[in-house]
Symmetry: C2
């Protein structure tokens, strides 16, 4: 077996510490060589987790001088790729630098704060990869949760999609650890948590519907219910697929309501999907037969890191990690926000 | 105690036989003197139920000649009022004749097939009642189901309404008894079952939200999923209240999905309401307290007939049976259908 790929972890936030560190440690195909974060304190926090697990790493940070800078990290020849989880606004410039330095990147979703930035980033990555061979993958862990994949297969078996309802209602309280990330408390990215968490759900419904029922256009109203969640915390949208099916997308991070429903109706039954539990209902009324399948709880991050490493080794990008797919997730979200900004005007989608 | 009010039952359909006959028999304030239906056969069917219960009645019908005609029924001085349940398209002309003859009317919802017809009917009823003193009440049994009233009180206690979701998904199958009413199989009224059943749900959400959060405007897409349910069987809508709250309204009579959710979110919690069960959730997240209240199953028809009779005796129309309220239910439905016909254009509401 070849030596594991040397990688670095870029970013020292909650998701990096709680998800990517264990995922990298669990993946036999990679070996973490270094960490970088904007502050030394945060980088050391990430490093400690690795050291405690028996993986000594070099510590780089934005406040450690030139020798331990991001540029310096990117010069290391023993590092093949980066797992990058930075604030949404910062990611593109760090990704571009890494690709230019010839490092493969697995960057946290969303691909960027908006479509324009994402399209420029994809263009740059294509261009620079001709020279450096470095590849860009976008991490969307919901695509690696087993429930979605199983549910998508079940939907496929039930005939034409005839309608759907996506509903995620919750309250992002001020004592939530994610809320208390400075860039999230005062978001500069559109939609705030609606984008941050929301791309998971656009990815989820896109996965369930599949390409034949890709979303063609959206109408939405957006609102701010809870004052600590600017600029908006709620989307009520109507989505129409290119095949003509109509569905509703309801997402609020600022409501007292609690709901987590992904329902897709087909000609011969329907599927209720969550990452961990999928219910397939075949038939109608009294004759309907319901089948429930439970999956082990998983954030999907271990699976996505493993998939990324396998893709690097095989030289074939993983189809669930392409920037184009992440662009589609972002577009669906952004067009709902845009429709809301324009008081419910219909928005066409191009990247589905 | 005064003698019971003499009434007639007009219409011999399923709802008349299964609901209004038992309701009239159960109400000590009324005494059924006669029945009328378009066909003698149907009228005799209704009459038999009454006779079997010890209430002999005279039988009138559209095919029994002048002496046993509707006009002839309306001339009877021992009949004070009519309970009328006819096809949606037919009701207004029968209502007008009855009011002109000085008979009080309790007419099944919806008030008419469309707003124009309803507004003309209300205008006529106001005019003619100056002469004849006859009153028009519209029967919306959902307003007399205990769950809605209790849920509305709970919502009131939870502070400002911040959002809501109405969802009623089911399949009207071709073997359903209501489907096999000729005027429903080939509907001439807008929306088909979306109007017929749907006014119950517009009444339901209007009851829950109350006047302070009346719906101000709607955006909707409508579709026909199942070919036996023309003209449309599905609404996906976004509703905005005059207070600024936004909600989703999802109604399909032609989907394999099953759902019956009325959720109203407020500042301090939310309410999940159905006619028979209401769950109030106070507070947020781990601190939330949930309280469930179950009500005896009831269609509300007995209660509405009793309320109508009491209103006739007191001379004060029941506030839950006014034509204006029924106009509001119809308007909300019609504007969603119109928005759908116009591909999602925003529709303002005037009668809420």
């Amino acid at each position: 077996m070849a030596a594991p790929l040397g990688i670095a972890l870029v970013g020292g936030g909650i998701f990096m510490k709680e998800q990517h560190v264990p995922a990298a440690l669990a993946c036999p195909l990679v070996s973490v060589k270094a960490v970088w974060s904007r502050s030394l304190k945060s980088a050391e926090g990430t490093a400690k987790l690795l050291v405690d697990a028996g993986t000594p790493v070099d510590v780089y940070s934005g406040d450690s001088g030139l020798e331990k800078s991001y540029d310096s990290l990117l010069k290391r020849e023993d590092i093949t790729g980066l797992i990058l989880a930075l604030p949404i606004m910062d990611q593109p410039s760090y990704i571009e630098k890494a690709l230019a330095a010839g490092k493969h990147v697995l960057a946290e979703k969303p691909i960027a704060k908006d479509l324009d930035t994402a399209i420029k980033l994809i263009g740059y990555s294509k261009e620079v990869s001709i020279e450096t061979q470095a590849t860009l993958a976008i991490a969307e862990n919901f695509r690696f949760m087993k429930g979605w994949a199983y549910a998508a297969e079940e939907i496929e078996k039930l005939g034409r999609v005839t309608g759907f309802v996506v509903r995620h209602n919750s309250m992002m309280q001020t004592n939530n650890k994610y809320y208390n990330t400075p860039w999230r408390t005062k978001p500069e990215h559109q939609g705030g948590f609606l984008l941050d968490g929301g791309v998971h759900y656009t990815a989820g419904i896109r996965k369930l519907l599949g390409e034949d029922h890709a979303i063609a256009n959206v109408i939405a109203l957006t609102s701010l219910i809870t004052s600590h969640l600017p600029p908006k915390d709620t989307i009520n949208a109507i989505l129409q697929t290119k095949s003509g099916a109509v569905g509703s997308y309801i997402h609020s991070t600022g409501t007292t309501m609690q709901a987590y429903d992904f329902h897709v109706a087909c000609e011969h039954g329907y599927v209720k999907a969550t990452p961990d539990k999928v219910v397939t209902v075949r038939g109608l009324g009294a004759d309907a037969k319901s089948e429930e399948k439970i999956f082990e709880k998983s954030s999907g991050v271990k699976e996505e890191v493993q998939a990324w490493a396998e893709a690097l080794i095989s030289g074939k990008p993983h189809p669930e990690q392409t920037p184009e797919l992440a662009l589609g997730d972002l577009e669906l979200l952004e067009k709902m926000l845009t429709s809301g900004d324009e008081d419910g005007t219909r928005q066409k989608l191009e990247y589905q």
